[in-house]
């Protein structure tokens, strides 16, 4: 288990949080850049000393500012995957991997390093310098290097963000397999909620140095604690003024025009969230049929295929994103400038604090 408590000033930001990650669990720190995510990893690794705090890994205490205890980074047995991988340019791939094997007899290092590279399909590149490798290859060498020390914890800083879109999907699946196999606690930093959902068991959403919500990705998406979390999960966030109705529903008058109903309770200034896949698109003037209570007239701003779906960005007048199939795009003649109606059920909406 990895436990962390920290309270420290970071430039203009105050970082204040408590985290616990169980053995074999992967916790994602998700949030915008500047939220202090990487600083959390740096505190765990001993590269940044907080004003006050504690870091424990299993039986070992790595940091306890109260007891004036601060283990040097090299004494903390962990695997740190840096955002740009930080491979040593002066050493070949296998020497990069063998760098952390100080306890291994010299003549066995090459064999052990090559075996680790083999596991990531990189044995053929053992003698290559990092400068000659592609982004995906560098990431795999860096992963092999991070595991070479038999770490008691794994710290992964944006492990996929330096990769191009095609490599990313493959590397993501590989990394998910590795994390499932690893019996040690892992902390993963990402600004991408989908990446967090794919790789982590739990997601801690960070904003301005604090954890604003923690839970499984599904919990966060279903019940975001704030419009900030909802926005991060990719949900549509609409701002407005809520007023309870006599039938138990809540009516929200949207800023910029429009009105919708929600089954959640709320009053005053609120944000209404709804997932893009809950929103269906209809031609304007179509007969009102079906159970969708909420209907907002909108103009298509852009149409972007994402995997097997199509993301349709709308102006209504607050921005809305709907996810539909390619067939729907064709039959509705969706394109920039097209007039549509965005429809969704009152039960698909959540009302959260702004």
């Amino acid at each position: 288990m990895l436990a962390l408590e920290a309270d420290t000033a970071l430039g203009g930001l105050r970082l204040e949080l408590t985290l616990e990650v169980a053995g074999g669990e992967c916790l994602a720190l998700a949030g915008p850049s500047g939220a202090g995510k990487t600083s959390v990893l740096r505190i765990v690794a001993g590269l940044l000393r907080p004003d006050s705090g504690r870091v424990r890994c299993g039986e070992e205490t790595w940091l306890d500012t109260e007891r004036k205890l601060d283990a040097a980074p090299e004494r903390r047995r962990l695997g740190y995957l840096f955002q740009d991988y930080a491979l040593f340019p002066n050493l070949s791939a296998w020497r990069n991997v063998a760098y952390g094997m100080a306890g291994v007899p010299r003549q066995q290092r090459r064999e052990r390093a090559t075996a680790l590279l083999e596991r990531f399909g990189m044995a053929a590149h053992a003698d290559s310098r990092p400068g000659t490798l592609s982004g995906g290859e560098r990431q795999r060498v860096a992963l092999a290097r991070a595991l070479a020390r038999a770490p008691r914890a794994l710290l992964l800083d944006e492990p996929l963000s330096a990769l191009d879109a095609r490599t990313r999907a493959h590397a993501g699946r590989e990394l998910a397999g590795l994390l499932a196999e690893a019996a040690v606690p892992a902390i993963l930093v990402t600004h991408d909620f989908e990446e967090a959902a794919l790789l982590a068991d739990r997601v801690a959403v960070m904003d301005a140095g604090r954890v604003v919500q923690i839970g499984t990705a599904a919990e966060l998406a279903a019940a975001p604690a704030s419009s900030f979390v909802a926005d991060l999960t990719g949900a549509v966030v609409l701002h407005g003024e809520a007023r309870p109705l006599s039938d138990g529903l809540t009516e929200v008058t949207l800023e910029g025009g429009g009105r919708l109903a929600s089954t959640d309770a709320g009053s005053g200034r609120v944000a209404v969230t709804v997932h893009p896949w809950e929103i269906s698109l209809e031609p304007p003037g179509a007969a009102r049929e079906g159970s969708a209570q909420n209907r907002l007239a909108a103009t298509v701003a852009s149409v972007t295929p994402v995997g097997n779906r199509v993301r349709v960005a709308l102006l209504a007048p607050q921005p809305i994103v709907a996810e539909v199939t390619g067939a729907a795009v064709t039959s509705l003649h969706l394109g920039a400038g097209a007039e549509v109606v965005a429809a969704f059920k009152a039960t698909a909406t959540r009302i959260v604090d702004v």
Partner: protein, 269 residues
């Protein structure tokens, strides 16, 4: 002609003038006397001695500068401490002190009547009019060139490389030896070449502090000055030799450490 075409032309013209101005004197050394005359002058006793002494003393000085300056530059590049700005300024001070003043300062500090004179005498160390004194003078004037460049080269390293090394179990000393020095090598070599060049041309501080004793403290620049008043051809010959040796070493450094080595300060590669 428009202004937009005038500017590139002005750039080319200024580079041309600069190159002509900088190479003409060096070229003239070789053109002013015939190769036969140059070779004959080198046979003169004392000329090769002076050159040999120059290579020997600058070599020892460079070794001292690198051995002491590299860790010092690492400290200045990686730590923030009280008085760091002052330390950096003190390291740079010899750059702006006139060489003759440096010689006077060395006499006042470690000369027989200097601050540390009695202590050095008790230790049996004599510097004035000794080859060791030449090395001290060269080290004093040349070390800032190396330390400044080495500091810049270390500061330009990606800090994540050094941090990655630490998280992989390497102490700071191992990180310095295995990651910092190899990756900063082009900058360190460039600094070494600059310091060595400065030491090879050293004149004032050596003359004032160690004197100009043929075979003991008379380095090539001092020997050239001595010949200059009575035998211009001999001065030319020794000068030509010095230019050739410096040029060869500069070229050697460039070939060994790649084209970027003497280009950008602290460039990584």
């Amino acid at each position: 002609m428009t202004a937009s075409r005038l500017f590139p032309l002005a750039l080319v013209a200024s580079l041309g003038v600069a190159l002509a101005f900088l190479t003409l004197p060096l070229l003239a050394i070789f053109l002013e006397s015939s190769p036969g005359e140059l070779l004959a002058s080198l046979g003169e006793p004392g000329a090769l001695d002076a050159l040999g002494l120059s290579l020997q003393t600058t070599g020892v000085a460079l070794a001292l500068i690198v051995a002491l300056g590299t860790p010092a530059a690492w400290l200045l590049a990686t730590r923030r401490f009280r008085g760091r700005a002052l330390a950096v300024t003190l390291v740079e001070l010899p750059l702006v002190v006139p060489p003759a003043v440096a010689g006077i300062g060395l006499l006042a500090a470690v000369g027989p009547q200097g601050l540390l004179g009695p202590a050095l005498e008790r230790a049996g160390l004599e510097l004035v009019f000794q080859t060791a004194g030449v090395v001290v003078a060269l080290t004093f004037v040349a070390s800032p060139f190396y330390i400044r460049q080495a500091q810049a080269a270390f500061a330009a390293l990606d800090p994540e490389l050094l941090e990655a090394s630490r998280t992989l179990g390497a102490s700071e000393a191992r990180t310095f030896a295995r990651i910092a020095v190899p990756n900063a090598l082009p900058g360190l070599v460039a600094g070494g070449a600059l310091a060595w060049g400065r030491a090879l041309g050293e004149f004032g501080a050596t003359l004032v502090f160690a004197g100009s004793l043929s075979g003991v403290t008379q380095t090539a620049p001092l020997a050239i000055y001595e010949r200059f008043s009575n035998d211009f051809t001999a001065a030319l010959a020794l000068s030509a030799m010095l230019v050739a040796v410096s040029g060869a070493i500069l070229l050697g450094v460039k070939l060994v450490s790649g084209p970027g080595a003497l280009g950008g300060a602290g460039a990584r590669g």
